[in-house]
Amino acid sequence: MKKDYSIWSLFTKGLNYNEGWDPAWRSAELKPSYNVVIVGAGGHGLATAYYLAKEHGVRDIAVIEKGYLGGGNTARNTTIVRSNYLWDEATMLYEHALKLWEHLTEELNFNVMFSQRGVFNLGHTLQDMRDIERRVNANVLNGVDAQVLDAAEVKRRIPILNTSRNARYPVLGASYQPRAGVARHDAVAWGFARAASKYGVDIVENCEVTGMDIVNGRLQGLQTSRGSVRADRVGCVASGHSSVLAKMAGIRLPIESHPLQAFVSESMKPVLDTVVMSNAVHGYASQSDKGELVIGAGIDHYTSYTQRGSPHIIEHTAAAIIELFPIFSRVRMNRQWGGIVDTTPDACPIISKTKVKGLYFNCGWGTGGFKATPGSGNVFAHTIANDEPHPLNKAFSLDRFSTGHLIDEHGAAAVAH
């Protein structure tokens, strides 16, 4: 792929008043038929299209999106990327993604600002520390970088953290993943859109699916707000609306859609150079390149598609952040928002064929989908192209809910479900 973003192109285009920049991606009109249609132009959907085109040679692809591309949870998450999960299946999937992240900027010729500033998962109880030990040992045996740190070492690395024994829930230690970090969420969607577009993928925004044409258990095509489209295969990657789409195919999913809220502080000078997550006190924080503290909350307990939650959750999260970082008490919240997370009974995603031939679902990422973006797209592309799961997502098929082979990652999801 031609690398047309560079310091040189900034220089030459700059000389010409920046008038020579091409569209980052091509907006397309919906054609009557495609080989593959991906529903949902978030990071996962665009990555799926990109890898379908790049690695599986599929040429006739559309990504359709009911709003603007990258406008769902891609635009609303707190951008943490890590792979320190508990169970082998999840760890290997997220580690696959993390490895792709490490080269994504160069691969896409688009700086996704992946910043490997490390992630600390704090332990506040003896059971937290047992779980941390278990998880870290499993990570290491799976070839994933992970360390157990005691409270003194955590304090040494994060001096502003409250590690007092007198805290309501004292920090007893942490797990640490050095290769983990954060990325610029919008850039991931834009970078994949641009790269997919170069492979000829049609990106169609403001195109909402309104129905599915299914004959004899086989998908024929979709009805959309921009007309009908025929497709051999359709992959749904519409986080926050998975159940709505599934209903059109007569499928019920093991998913509940909950609000998940987050907020940012005003922009400040650098004060926190890593990512800190605490399951026990329900809060996590990092500082963006712009200087805002980016803070995530726990999910609201009721279901909702409104993309907003209840204020007591934010209040509780602010309290948790002050519990962890007393110096942030006088810092101010600038903006809060919510997304819709599709939670599953085992806090693991579904990347699966369905009972409808030609229809595939990639959903149920709960609170942790962003980190998986390239890996999710990569294995989902494989699943669609081969009509068989990639070895890394075999365990994430829908049939696990009938066989009982759940992969319970509630502990590692880091957010109270």
């Binding site: 973003y5 700059g14 920049w21 569209p23 980052a24 991606w25 907006s27 709003g67 603007y68 290997m92 900027t105 160069e106 700086n111 600002m113 992946f114 003896l126 520390m129 030990e133 278990r134 998880r135 040992n137 499993a138 290491v140 309501r168 829930y169 919008d186 834009w190 925004e205 502080s265 005003e266 922009s267 400040m268 000078k269 650098p270 500082q287 390149d289 200087g291 409104t306 907003r308 209840s310 204020p311 209040e315 509780h316 309290a319 948790a320 952040i321 002050i322 519990e323 110096i327 008490s329 006088r330 101010r332 919240m333 600038n334 903006r335 809060q336 696990r400 066989t403 009982g404 759940l406």
Partner: protein, 1015 residues
Amino acid sequence: MTSHRIRHEKARVDFGRPISFHFDGKSYTGYAGDTLASALLANGVRMLGRSFKYGRPRGIVGAGAEEPNALTQVETGAATIPNLKATQVELYDGLTARRTTGWPALDFDLKSVSGRFSRFMPAGFYYKTFQSRALWPKFEHVIRQAAGYGSAPEEADLDSYDHSHRHAEVVVVGGGPCGLLTALNLGRAGLNVTLLDEQRELGGWLLSYPHAIIDGQPGYDWLKNIIAELRSLPRVQIFTRTSAFALHDLNLIQAVEQLQDHLPLAERSETSPRQRLHRIRASHIVLATGAIERPLVFGNNDLPGILTASALTTYLNRYGVAVGRRVVMQTSNDFAYQGACDLARAGCSVVLADTRTRPNTVWEQRAHAAGVDVRPGYAISGALGSRAVKAAKLVKISADQNSISGDGPTIECDALGSSGGLSPTVHLYCHDGGRPHWDEEKLAFVAPAMGRAATGIYCVGGITGTFGLQPALMQAHEVSDAVLAATGKASVGERRSIETDEPNAIPARRIFRVPDGKVEGHGKKAFVDFQNDVTAADIHLAVRENYRSIEHIKRYTALGFGTDQGKLSNVNGFAIAAEALGKSIPDVGTTTYRPAYSPVTFGTLAGPHEGDTFEPKRYTPMHASHVARGAVFENVGQWLRPQYFLKAGEDQDAAIRRECIAARRGVGIMDASTLGKIDLQGKDAREFLNRVYANSWTQLAPGKCRYGLMLDENGMVMDDGVTACISDEHFAMTTTTGGAARVLSWLENWHQTEWPDLDVYMTSVTDHWATAAVVGPKSREVLAKVCSDIDLSPSSFKFMDWREGTVAGVAARVFRISFSGELAFEVNVDANYGYHLWEALLAAGAEFDITPYGTDAMHLLRAEKGFIIVGQDTDGSMTPFDLDMAWAVSMKKPFSFIGKRSFARSDTAGPNRKQLVGLLTEDPSIVLAEGAQIIEAPEVNPPVAMLGHVTSSYFSPELGRSIALAVVRDGIKRRSPEGQNAGRDRLFAYFGGQTHRVQVVSPVFVDPKGERQNA
């Protein structure tokens, strides 16, 4: 230096009360009533910082929450606050503040160097470069150092914060003329009204435009009268300095009341809160939030000394400050005229370029009379100056399209004000899903007065696009009537016809970006968003690169992302985007309005929930006794439980060892009061137990206890505990400490939703009972000393029996159950006697050296016996069979108990499941880490297949060696001796980078036949 103060009687500052303050290390004087911004402007301070990206000089632009530039760090040390807008900081004696940008010095800012290369740093340039994996961390470091405004405090906050929860029939947001009048109408009708205003004093725009005449009264008199009457109404509550920052679902307002920030540090109370968060649930909400003037976008429009026209006017009228003496203004509308007239009357020279060829003739006459030089058909295409505005370049502008039709003069000036029209403050209206609509006549996104009346949300005044005072006040009557009708009250009655001296408005010109005769991007930078250095050219570039959704434009350029949340910039940005896209503004739409309207202190959000009161602490009745005996406590849920009791000279290990030995050889005592306790009664209680537990309760007789495993419907163990049969229709259940609340809710759910036909009632009695477990070979002797009415002999009081009697003079239930494997009695008494019971047992046991023990010893003792702890040895993926506890499952019960069906699924019933086993290390001195992974071979070449993990691990004083519990694939068959034959019992445990040889054994290490507990 020219004086910027203009002392006039309408000013809302007290010229008799000078106040000294410090900014950037220099001392200045202002007056009571000033903001930091007005005082700085009065002292001629123009440049307050440098811009975010290009390091350009920046000064104050606005006069309130809309301010994008003047972000200051107020106070130092523990009292410091980053990023306060100088326009919102009330001046107090001794105030100390500093700028937050400009490094290393305001006069020489490093970013201004990079600013010279700004053409190579268009919007989103960082996405296109810094792509080297090796170099990106270094680039990122530089970017991060350059970003950000103020600094987080370096010390913990000494202030406290408060929460208040309120209910109101009506909340009126905004104490301007419309809000006041509406509140008055509703208050007079007897409604419970809460009026919120973010400012120090009520009045809103009237404070900036005091010359208005309402009903023949001068504006201030009208204000004074209405406020006085409002304050006299008993059901009206008024909160000033209270910013309603969010509107949530179902009419919930969140507001922050600033209680002390305006006081000198020395006068602040340490015992009362700094700020209070109000949550107000209202039946009706009236949004009278007004509007904010947006500037016009033109070249170099970011020079210090360039403000919005209304800010210039506010500083003059409200604060007695002339930002400059030679003022040039430009406007697209009538709104700037009043300010221009006021400035001219105050002695400033004023040139007003009206982009309209035909201004409002009434205003034109008034302006002429005041001495304003009105230039119809002119616009300011660019400002000149380097560190402050020095001159304005005027051009003639076409009547019908936004293009230059002729040259104009360059006019020297020291202040420049522009008005591009008013943008209604629709934020709250939109927070919970409301959408504003574009009014092409008003050139504004407006919230209709009755658009959400059905759900109790009304809008009045500027927010609705009703910008004139007279029509807005008339609208206040209409909205008042609507609210009164909805609450069943009588109408306001005969409407007073409100008269003001405002001329009838004529339409504004539709202009946002003032042309400079050049292609966008070729001329001087024209800023849309000052705080994020977003120019009109950036927006055009974004569109050129196909970032065409307004959300894309916002995210690509950072438009509206600052701490001002785009209050000045958003509408200009939408309009410029619309032009670049060739779309209409409503087709472009708005970005989403999110709370907070103005930034809110974390501490205020947290309120009292910090430090010790972050979450409640639960203590058992014996807590004081534990403290006195040197207990170290462990958090278990909200409970504080003794983890171990330290004696002089001991460490943790020694204490645990001593406690365990006492329980095994003599007698120990443990506080088990935290265990969840649920009392179940009813004739179907027994059947209920059969359904919610895996085992059978059919045969359990009164006086007997039984251990039960509670499963979720997925077949996995979720809780366990002992339940006693009190009578045929009465059972006492215990749950794990952490699971108590969840289990009760679980049971209630099943009973109420699935089996309402069962006659059973359940109540949490956790806090009603205190429980002391007397454990060890000598426990019977100890108990005998304080209990004479229970036959404690082994033949009559057997293991798993319970008896009612009197212990230490207190009515008690005594359970002969054991979590240690020793002879043990759990004594339950009314919690009020818990401390008494505990002390009496300790006294009775003194001769046997009775030893209190904590959770560490408890865990160790039970692990020696292979007893599980749910949540430690299980993780939600273990069935009773995985735990080798088939004895606790009755598959023959007629009712398919919770979780039973799930056993039959292929994976749950399948081979190779992880099962509970014991582990012995080859080296008996090595204590495995809890969480060590079990692997088949000693080599570690990732990825390594893992067979399971260590769940519990201790050094056993009883055995003089380490022991562990683990879950291991196919573990039951691996246990020696059976596993030994096949050689399958030899495995390795991995933790901390090392592997250790282990043998798989039975999880019961001590007294496998259970003789001790039956003794």
